[in-house]
């Protein structure tokens, strides 16, 4: 009995020990994670802090509808931010996403109204995005045009083609299946409009995010993307497929702009040539807030999604405040952004100075 008892005690102790060791290892791992993860972690912390701040000062933030709408209203931004992350990780930039969305959605709605199969139309919309990405990628990769300029050109091109197609809003039929993507699925029915809801668009955003994470962290292509951002020259001398990967990232960004076009069009039910003006800057800001370096090579796609949500939350907070002088809104937006990157910088600096 005694020995049994001791054995049992020893076992528990051992078990606890093992657990502690496991915990210790986990903690150690968490503490010494890649320093490049710090800005992203900071972004997440700051996002939560903003939520709490909003709840305390204005209320009504931690409630189902506000949170649901944060995702639903920013689904398109999350999607293009994921695409933008790919491009920025290679050290490039894609200014064309907003214009691509405009062209893709106008063209898509016009085709749908011309009687094309709506599912086919959605595919075409994504394909248009891919095509723009291909053009930009080709200019960059084969003709050595700088990404900023190449995508500025495709931005003008997209905007111009969209305007040439139509300068009036193109309306989608109310019963079009494309509209289904924005049908709200109620998960938890609360009082009034205070429901926990989700749309297919929101789900797509999450899937895109997870897909982006998988590709970047679990495939060779993804790692090559990071390598290119570290040093393109080194990556090509290491025998990595630099060219095709760079082509790929622009196509990913363009294709996701196409997806965002589908999601956004579905939500509004219309398409317009002026849709998406300035969204490229939102997406870039989201990526940067999320902790990705604009010089490439470091960052996380998850951070970009958080960045997109931060931007969305910022708007909500400004609206909730309601008393901000209209002249001041851009100053305040800028200031919040600045505070954000400064805090992030502070956090990362202390880490690297250790």
């Amino acid at each position: 009995m005694r020995s049994d008892h001791t054995a049992a005690v020893a076992e528990t102790v051992e078990h606890q020990d093992a657990q502690r060791r496991r915990w210790g290892a986990l903690r150690a791992r968490l503490l010494q994670v890649n320093p490049s993860a710090m800005p992203t972690a900071a972004a997440i912390v700051l996002f939560v802090a903003m939520l709490v701040f909003g709840e305390v000062s204005y209320g009504g933030i931690f409630q189902s509808n506000t949170l649901s709408n944060l995702l639903i209203n920013n689904a398109h931004l999350i999607i293009i931010a994921v695409g933008m992350t790919f491009v920025i990780l290679t050290g490039g930039i894609d200014l064309s996403v907003g214009a691509v969305i405009a062209f893709s959605s106008v063209a898509g709605v016009m085709l749908a109204n011309a009687g094309w199969n709506p599912w086919l139309v959605m595919v075409v919309m994504v394909a248009i995005g891919l095509l723009f990405g291909l053009v930009a990628g080709t200019l960059i990769e084969f003709f050595n045009v700088q990404p900023f300029i190449a995508t500025l050109a495709t931005m003008f091109l997209g905007r111009g083609l969209a305007s040439m197609l139509s300068t009036t809003p193109e309306r989608l039929a109310d019963d079009s299946p494309i509209r289904l993507l924005s049908r709200r699925i109620t998960l938890v029915d609360g009082p009034g409009v205070n429901d926990l809801e989700l749309t297919a668009g929101g789900i797509i955003a999450v899937v895109v995010l997870l897909g982006g994470f998988f590709v970047l962290h679990r495939t060779r292509r993804g790692r090559t993307t990071y390598a290119i951002g570290g040093s393109e020259n080194a990556a090509s001398l290491m025998g990595l497929p630099v060219r095709s990967t760079k082509l790929m990232v622009y196509m990913v960004s363009g294709g996701l702009a196409g997806v965002a076009a589908v999601v956004y069009t579905s939500r509004l039910g219309i398409a317009q040539n002026i849709t998406g003006t300035g969204w490229e800057l939102d997406a870039i800001a989201a990526v940067v807030i999320g902790g990705t370096l604009l010089t490439g090579g470091a960052g996380y796609v998850l951070g970009s999604a958080v960045g997109a949500l931060v931007l969305g939350l910022m708007n909500v907070l400004i609206v909730r405040d309601g008393g901000i002088n209209p002249e001041m809104t851009t100053v305040i937006t800028g200031a919040i952004l600045l505070v954000f990157v400064l805090l992030q910088r502070g956090v990362t600096m202390r880490r690297s100075d250790l």
Binding site: L157, T167, A285
Partner: protein, 348 residues
């Protein structure tokens, strides 16, 4: 230095294609209207007038910001705030003038104050980039948002109009029939050009743009240089703002200078300076700025519909980029070999 040498040097410069593009656009306009290039004395105003002068006048603000942008880009940075700084500078000067009398002294005060505020914004950019270590893109993006807000705060959201003949003269005056604004712009470019190229400033700016770490080891102080460069960019954007508002004596806080940063960046890149930083060409930036002004004017002159304008610009940009690219040039002069891998060095 014989003619052949000069010709070879010109062909080696990347901005030669900007010049060629300008010539082509002018030629297209000439086809549309054979009298396009004529410069004549306007019988009513007794000043020189003509499409070429219009282009030059319109190029003046772009010229200013392109030169500033060129220096910033050379340090491997970027300044997205120039358009907003233009608005701030315009807002400051118009607000001041609208409450002052039309005296010349008011104009000088307005100019000084506007330039001061613009420079301060530039200094803030510089400090954030050089001292705090933020990324230039995001820093100046913040400043682009905040700057436009500041302009709106200054005028309380109004589009302020003012009257002051001295101030108006900047963009509308003539010296011997020649528009003042062009002379001013060229003088500024010349001064900047001389300062960066006759001193070692240009070399040091390029050096930190190519390899900041190595530059530090050589004893160059990147901090001071970066702050200087961003301040200069702010100052030049301020001048551009003054040029712009003085043409119409109105500041439009949401429109003045909007999207001008893209024009400036485009001008710089078409002029042969790489966005990755390093070697810069002010001459190239100037050529790029003139190209953009010519392009803007051509679009209107040809009556391209508003909806097709962006596509038209896109085509022109793409064509220029293609011509500039080694690959296409390789096809043209097939004697030159093209290395399979670009000589582009991984920037640390």
């Amino acid at each position: 230095m014989n003619v052949r040498d000069l010709a070879r040097r010109a062909l080696a410069a990347r901005y030669i294609w900007a010049v060629v593009a300008i010539l082509i656009l002018l030629a297209v306009n000439l086809v549309r209207d054979p009298g396009y290039l004529a410069v004549a004395v306007n019988p009513v105003t007794e000043n020189l007038s003509g499409n070429l002068l219009d282009i030059l006048r319109n190029a003046a603000p772009i010229l200013m910001i392109a030169v500033g942008m060129c220096l910033v880009i050379s340090t491997s940075g970027i300044d997205l705030s120039v358009g907003s700084v233009m608005a701030v500078s315009g807002a400051v000067s118009m607000e001041l003038l609208s409450s002052a009398d039309g005296a010349p002294s008011a104009a000088f005060t307005a100019i000084l104050l506007a330039l001061l505020v613009s420079t301060v914004i530039g200094v803030v950019n510089g400090l954030l980039v050089a001292v705090v270590g933020l990324q230039p893109f995001i820093t100046t993006l913040v400043m682009m948002l905040a700057g436009r807000g500041i302009a709106k705060v200054i005028t309380s959201g109004q589009n302020t109009t003012a009257r002051n003949e001295t101030f108006r003269w900047i963009a509308n005056g003539h010296v011997l029939g020649f528009p003042v604004v062009i002379l001013l712009a060229l003088a500024v470019v010349l001064v900047v050009g001389l300062v960066v190229r006759r001193t070692a400033l240009g070399l040091m700016i390029e050096s930190i743009g190519i390899n900041a770490r190595a530059s530090r080891m050589v004893g160059i102080k990147p901090r001071g240089l970066l702050i200087t460069v961003y301040s200069v960019s702010g100052l030049l954007a301020g001048i551009a703002g003054l040029f712009t508002v003085s043409t119409v004596m109105t500041v439009d806080v949401s429109q003045t200078g909007s999207a001008m940063e893209m024009d400036a960046i485009l001008a710089v890149v078409i002029g042969g300076t790489a966005l990755a930083g390093g070697k810069f060409s002010l001459t190239g930036a100037v050529a790029g700025a003139f190209l953009i002004a010519t392009l803007n004017k051509t679009v209107v002159f040809l009556g391209v519909p508003s909806s097709a304008t962006p596509a038209f610009k896109a085509v022109v940009i793409i064509v220029i980029c293609l011509i500039q690219s080694e690959r296409v040039r390789g096809y043209v002069s097939s004697r030159r070999r093209v290395p399979a891998t670009r000589a582009k060095e991984g920037v640390a």
